[in-house]
Amino acid sequence: MKQLGLIIVIICGGLLLYATQDFPAWGDPTAPVHTHLSPHFITEGLHETGAPNLVTAVLADYRGYDTMFETVVVFCAGIACILLLRTFVQRTRGREYRHTPTGVVLHIQDPDKDLNNPREFELIDNMWVPHDLIIKTVSRMLIPFIQIFALYVVAHGDFSPGGGFQGGVIFGASLILLALSFDLRSSLRRISEKMLGILSALGVIIYSGIGIACMLLGGNFLDYGRLTAILPVDPDHIRAMGMLGVEIGVGFAVMAVMVIIYTNIASQGRHQQGL
């Protein structure tokens, strides 16, 4: 296997190196890459779309169709993780709960019985670890700031680096941090599996819904200019508004899917206990 690998690698690398001799020099402003399409994006992008961040302008407007499918890829990965990993195991017979304020441990024998006040108890099984006060407190302080930053990144994507995808990942990371520092159960209590599933679908529905709204208003798919008929916005900024709506959709979907993938991988699909 090692020899085979080396042979393939040498052939591929040789071919690729051979082809670099035709490339224009690195950073050369007269290369075809910089003279064919990009001058139009750079000089006209701001006027045509109203977004100073050209990457967002191209991402969400000129190539918005690509970005929709990029979100669909993420969505698909989330559903695939559910399809592959999620298992619904029967509750085991005996369960032990620890009452957090007092430290008393309860033993419950009936598998169908639930606790009256589950917030004050934690399940003790072979994966149970005692909580660390410092980590908990620090995360508790950090998480709101991370989330506000994520919202800023989504909302400010037109003007500065960032956008729906990055913001969604950061928001999802804050929820993953919650699951890491407390446990999976307490994070799923705040945002349930059902909620995550619906949010991920909602995100992509927002994106394609905006596109279809443009279609119903007489334009092509994702032609944000047509939204002037239903949004009371200055026509110069209508495309930027459309992009913002789309980015919010991307944010929802990506946030939900990141948490879905994490919960399924970390709990092997059982949703009992995180790391």
């Binding site: 064919h36 690509d66 399809l83 592959l84």
Partner: protein, 495 residues
């Protein structure tokens, strides 16, 4: 309204997929109707689109209202309209046929299955309709990602491992394709297929463009499963649940052949492929080796599923070889064979699905006496078998005929030999199964068991019947298909 058809065929299954996911948690009973409606809508618009394209010529759709080199363009010509119809119809029939087995195998996760299934179909339709090189990559990844999940689910122990191997090879394939697109982009500065095609003559003889072509081609071959790169294919298809392999096996490889033909004709241009690169001798030889080795390996299998998987490997060789013969007969044969082989493979997997549903066993020696218990299914099998061998009234004959004519015209005697040999071997394959099913007596010889009718449910037999009718109908109308759909496309490509 009709101007929006190219977008609608993709958007309807996509929206159905999203709604499906919401319904998984809201009301599960709505999942199946949504799926059927989404795929049915797609079939309806594909038929309308094909009629319109054949009547009025190529349709272009500018997403977002941006003109092509800036924005993304969807472009549907004769060939893509044909393949779109093929994809949507097969996907629709499969969902009808597999309802019962899905409900049995995945009771509580069926909603997630329908979602992934719809995304898979959306990805295939998008790959066929798009006219943008990078957009094709993104859609290809949606297709592959959903295919990985569809192939790995189920209770078979080895399915995840087979699917993981598929992921590794599939990612290499997609990355090679992306790399090829990058090399094209650095030389031309554009991603639109027509734009690349018009800029390429200006940089003729560039080694970077040549390497770009080679990498795109190898990437597509990996995804397609051409002979030395096919290692992921047999395991992935045979350990997967039938309801998913039944749609992936006929469609994934055929759509990749379509992408290869699209790259050859619409992106690089036939002049570039056959005059500047002139690899055709090598590729046709490789395809012939693929045909022979696929057929021989199919002969060596003891399990019906594995045998079908190797028949696919063999058929891929037909299409690749035909497309690279370098004459219009061969190209016609290759395109016609995309249609015919998709129908035949689908029919074979329908037969397989019926056997799995009623008997649970697929080893060839377990098929004894199956003819008396499942007469309709086995009648379907014989019809498909005749078509695979290439007997005249069925569709398999006509594409093979064009391929043979093309091979003789190009003087590729090895390819012609491989075609004839593989026909003989498939006759042996079909006869072996029929012999076991029909002639071998049942072990122990219980009379009442022999007579017991244990046929698959009607919802699985009707799609098989329709596919059987399609095999004959496509055979009878193949002259019409070639005259009005395939030849105009090839003439466009040459001029």
């Amino acid at each position: 309204m009709s101007a929006h058809y190219p977008a609608l065929i993709i958007l309807i299954p996509l929206l159905a997929a999203f709604l499906n996911t919401a319904f998984v948690w809201l009301d599960k009973r709505l999942c199946y109707p949504t799926t059927v409606l989404g795929l049915g809508g797609s079939v309806y618009f594909c038929i309308r689109l094909l009629l319109k394209v054949v009547g009025n010529g190529t349709m272009a759709y500018h997403v977002g209202g941006w003109a092509p080199p800036m924005g993304i363009e969807l472009r549907v010509d004769n060939l893509s309209a044909l393949v779109l119809l093929l994809v949507s119809v097969i996907a629709f029939m499969n969902i009808i046929a597999s309802r019962k087995s899905i409900n049995e195998e995945l009771t509580f996760k069926s909603g997630a299955f329908y979602t992934i299934y719809l995304l898979f179909v959306t990805g295939l339709l998008g790959v066929v309709a798009t006219a943008d090189l990078f957009n094709l990559y993104v859609l290809l990844e949606i297709t592959s990602l959903s295919a990985y999940a569809l192939l790995a689910m189920g209770n078979q122990d080895r399915a995840p491992l087979a699917s993981l191997n598929y992921i590794f090879l599939g990612v290499v394939g997609a990355s090679f394709y992306l790399l090829g697109v990058g090399y094209l982009y650095i030389m031309t500065g554009t991603l639109n297929m027509a734009d690349v095609n018009s800029l390429l003559p200006g940089i003729a003889g560039s080694s970077a463009v040549m390497v770009a072509f080679v990498f795109c081609l190898v990437g597509i071959w990996i995804k397609m499963g051409l002979f030395p790169l096919h290692t992921w294919l047999p395991n992935a298809y045979s350990y997967a649940p039938v309801s998913s392999s039944r749609v992936i096996a006929p469609l994934m490889t055929k759509v990749m052949v379509y992408v290869m033909i699209r790259m050859m004709i619409s992106v690089f241009g036939l002049d570039f492929v056959f005059e500047q690169i002139s690899l055709e001798g090598w590729v046709v030889a490789l395809a012939s080796v693929a045909i022979i080795s696929g057929a021989v390996m199919a002969l060596a299998q003891k399990d019906l599923k594995k045998m079908l998987a190797y028949i696919i490997v063999c058929e891929i060789g037909y299409m690749v070889g035909g497309a690279w013969l370098g004459n219009s007969q061969g190209m016609t044969g290759a395109i016609l064979h995309i249609v015919n082989d998709a129908i035949m493979t689908f029919a074979l997997f329908l037969v397989l699905g019926n056997i799995v549903f009623t008997r649970k066993k697929t080893a060839i020696k377990d098929l004894r006496g199956i003819f008396s218990s499942m007469p309709w299914t086995m009648a379907g099998f014989i019809l498909v078998g005749i078509s695979i061998i290439g007997v005249p009234p069925t569709c398999g004959f006509f594409s093979k005929w064009y391929l043979l004519l093309g091979g003789i015209e190009a003087g590729a005697s090895f390819f012609v030999f491989a075609l004839v040999l593989s026909s003989l071997i498939s006759a042996v394959l079909v006869f072996r199964v029929v012999e076991t099913a029909f002639f071998s007596p049942e072990d122990g010889g219980h009379e009442h068991e022999k007579a017991a009718l244990n046929e698959a449910p009607v919802s699985m037999l009707v799609p098989l019947g329709l596919t059987g009718v399609a095999i004959i109908a496509v055979g009878i109308w193949s002259g019409y298909i070639v005259q009005h759909i395939i030849l105009p496309f090839i003439q466009q490509g040459i001029s």
